[in-house]
């Protein structure tokens, strides 16, 4: 009996494990290709990679519905893909093509998708937080049971906008899930050199906001924490702060000689790679076969190649349209 009933559950769990792996892998492969495209000087400007942090975006997105909103930073390729924005639209955006998610006007740092309620793509550190509070305020005032997930780095914690928004959200009990991606560095500045109090949960206490630290290299731990938090938020419990402990495997952006950390440190973190470690875990528990892994890799590779092809085939917006989208074209 119990066996019989257990089976489908196990299947569902197994499927979900594969989905988590699939999501993290497509982000990883996508960005590896971005690096190659950047070196080929096809992608330009600032490009910030999420490689090493995939478990954070993938884990949190599991707890969100399509009605919820997402606000992210300039390091948002992973969030956009995990949110379901087509890889082709992302790649085309970085190519500066009309087919890009922002018609090529935003680039890597400014991915937007109104349909997916993905509100950027904000390149001013801390600048997205007040906007997230406002999106949540709109939901609260209109009696909608939605959550707004706001991603930002630990470096943003030093900004005044972090403080003002944390207080406002807690004071008004706004349905915001604050996701602080603590990858230990803000460009070259280590957390301990920018914060007097490095335990970020203690900071949240200063706003009477529930907060807990999560292993950001463990996608399941992230998903569990996010589900617990969003359940609490949807129940009207007010905002929650998650400190997601992770690590950036690559340079801050494409221009960064990484003088501020030593190879050894990076190596140790590589041992905790969210993807390979999860792969190993699944395989060990029989949750993943070699064939399945091959299929996932193949699918990711195919998706990335399709994205590149889509971007290559894209067109450039006519220069005559330069000043479009400064003001709306239709006014009452």
């Amino acid at each position: 009996m119990s066996r019989r009933r257990a089976a489908p559950v196990a299947d569902a769990e197994r499927a979900h494990g594969l989905l988590l792996l699939r999501e993290m892998l497509r982000i990883r492969r996508f960005e590896e290709r971005c690096v190659e495209r950047y070196s080929a000087a096809v992608i330009r400007g600032f490009m910030h990679l999420y490689i090493g942090e995939e478990a954070v975006a993938v884990g949190v997105m599991q707890a969100l519905t399509s009605d919820d909103a997402v606000v992210a930073t300039y390091r948002e390729h992973g969030h956009a893909l995990a949110r379901g924005i087509p890889a082709g639209a992302l790649m085309a955006e970085m190519y500066g093509k009309v087919e890009g998610s922002s018609r090529g006007r935003g680039g890597s740092m400014h991915i937007f998708d109104a349909g997916a309620r993905f509100y950027g793509g904000n390149a001013i550190v801390g600048g997205g937080l007040p906007v997230a509070a406002g999106l949540a305020l709109a939901d609260q005032m209109q009696g909608r049971e939605r959550v707004t997930a706001c991603f930002f780095g630990e470096g943003a914690v030093a900004e005044g906008e972090f403080h003002e928004t944390m207080n406002l959200a807690a004071l008004w009990r706004l349905p915001v899930l604050f996701c602080c991606e603590n990858n230990l560095y803000a460009m070259g500045t280590a957390l301990a050199r920018s914060e007097a109090e490095t335990d970020l949960a203690v900071k949240a206490a200063g706003y009477q906001m529930p907060a807990w630290a999560v292993d950001g290299m463990d996608v399941r731990a992230v998903e569990d924490a996010a589900r617990k938090a969003t359940t609490q938020i949807r129940a009207g419990g007010g905002p929650v702060f998650l400190e997601l402990r992770t690590y950036r495997f690559r340079a801050h952006s494409m221009y960064d000689p990484e003088r501020y950390r030593d190879k050894a440190e990076v190596e140790t973190w590589h041992e905790r790679d969210p993807i390979s470690s999860f792969e190993a875990l699944l395989t060990a528990s029989g949750g993943l076969t070699d064939d399945e892994l091959d299929e996932i890799e193949a699918a990711a590779a195919a998706e990335v190649e399709a994205a590149v092809a889509f971007a290559e085939a894209g067109t450039f917006e006519p220069v005559e349209d330069l000043t479009r989208f400064v003001y709306s074209e239709v006014r009452p």
Binding site: Y119, P130, G134, L137, V326
Partner: protein, 324 residues
């Protein structure tokens, strides 16, 4: 009926909140206190604390929250107590409100209205007397308006709220007690065109917001000297209604621009530059500017008066323009 600029502004807010439940007012002390300048007095009782929403002293956060709320389907009226404090929220206005539509390739509108008091003249000294309309008028992606009359105080807000893009409304602190007649059925007005407040033949005096009355007083004095001055109220500071200005100057061949901002890099500089570009061959004299002196506004009354545009300065500039 007889009313004041303050009451007209309040009527406009009440009207908007009644017409559209998505509209709400948010800012420092807008509720019980009634707003720093008593504009929102009584609205709390009428609409409740949800829609007349007091905020902490967090300019960046509540202006940014207004942007987010607009993205989320609301029609927020964010009151920044004065333009002086708006510097703390400027990043949100410049980098989010003004850019989201463009950065998203046309996907995201920000139907937000930001109201703020501006200007000097009440001996509030250097940190409380800024006139930064010119800075806001420099930002692509937002509209900037400056109601100078009861009709505009009553009518610009609703039009601004109906606009799909962010609109900043500057209310000069010296105007709130302005009293006069307003039609009982006064309603929405356009926020696109400048208005000729007084017609004249000899020269054009261009002003906006708090200096329109000063310009009209100067025109009156000039008429006594046989100089017929046309007075134009810009009304909308971004985008500027250049055709109306050029049409007037093409007739009068002379212009004086009045601006309470510091002269260098003032909005008056843009107006003067545009006239010198678009009406170059019609100008019989250099476009004159009567602006604030290049000094942080002093507290002492006599020094503050000397620092700000006054009737005498406009009259003198007009006489020079007439070659008198």
């Amino acid at each position: 009926m007889t009313t004041t600029y303050r009451e007209a502004m309040r009527a406009a807010i009440r009207d908007a909140m009644t017409r559209d439940e998505r509209v709400f007012l948010m800012g420092e002390d807008v509720d019980r206190y009634g707003g720093c300048f008593a504009v929102s007095l009584g609205l709390l009782e009428e609409f409740g604390p949800e829609r007349v929403r007091d905020t902490p002293l967090s300019e960046s956060a509540f202006v940014g929250a207004g942007i987010g709320a607009a993205l989320g389907g609301m029609r927020p009226i964010v009151e920044v107590m004065t333009v002086n404090f708006s510097l703390l929220a400027l990043d949100q206005i410049v980098n989010n409100a003004a850019t989201l539509l463009h950065m998203s390739g046309g996907q995201l509108n920000v139907p937000l209205v930001i109201r703020m008091t501006t200007g000097a003249g009440r001996q509030l000294a250097a940190q409380h007397s800024h006139s930064l309309e010119g800075w806001y008028a420099h930002i692509p992606g937002i509209r900037v308006v400056a109601p100078a009359t009861l009709e505009d105080a009553r009518g610009m807000l609703w039009t601004a709220l109906c606009d799909p893009d962010p609109v900043v409304i500057f209310e000069h602190g010296g105007l709130y007690n302005l009293e006069g007649e307003l039609a009982a059925d006064a309603g929405p007005v356009d926020i696109d065109r400048a208005a000729v407040r007084r017609t004249g033949e000899d020269l054009t005096v261009i002003a906006y917001g708090g200096t329109v009355a000063t310009a009209l007083a100067a025109a009156e004095e000039l008429s006594g000297e046989g100089i017929s001055a046309e007075v134009i109220d810009l009304r909308t500071l971004r985008p500027l209604d250049i055709p109306t200005l050029v049409a007037s100057v093409t007739r009068t061949h002379r212009a004086v621009v009045v601006d309470e901002g510091w002269r260098t890099g003032s909005l008056a500089a843009e107006v003067a530059a545009r006239l010198a570009e678009d009406a170059f061959y019609d100008l019989d004299a250099p476009v004159a500017r009567v602006c604030s002196a290049e000094v942080p506004i002093p507290y002492a009354r006599h020094l503050e008066e000397a620092a700000l545009p006054q009737v005498g300065g406009i009259v003198a500039a007009a006489r020079r323009a007439m070659g008198a």
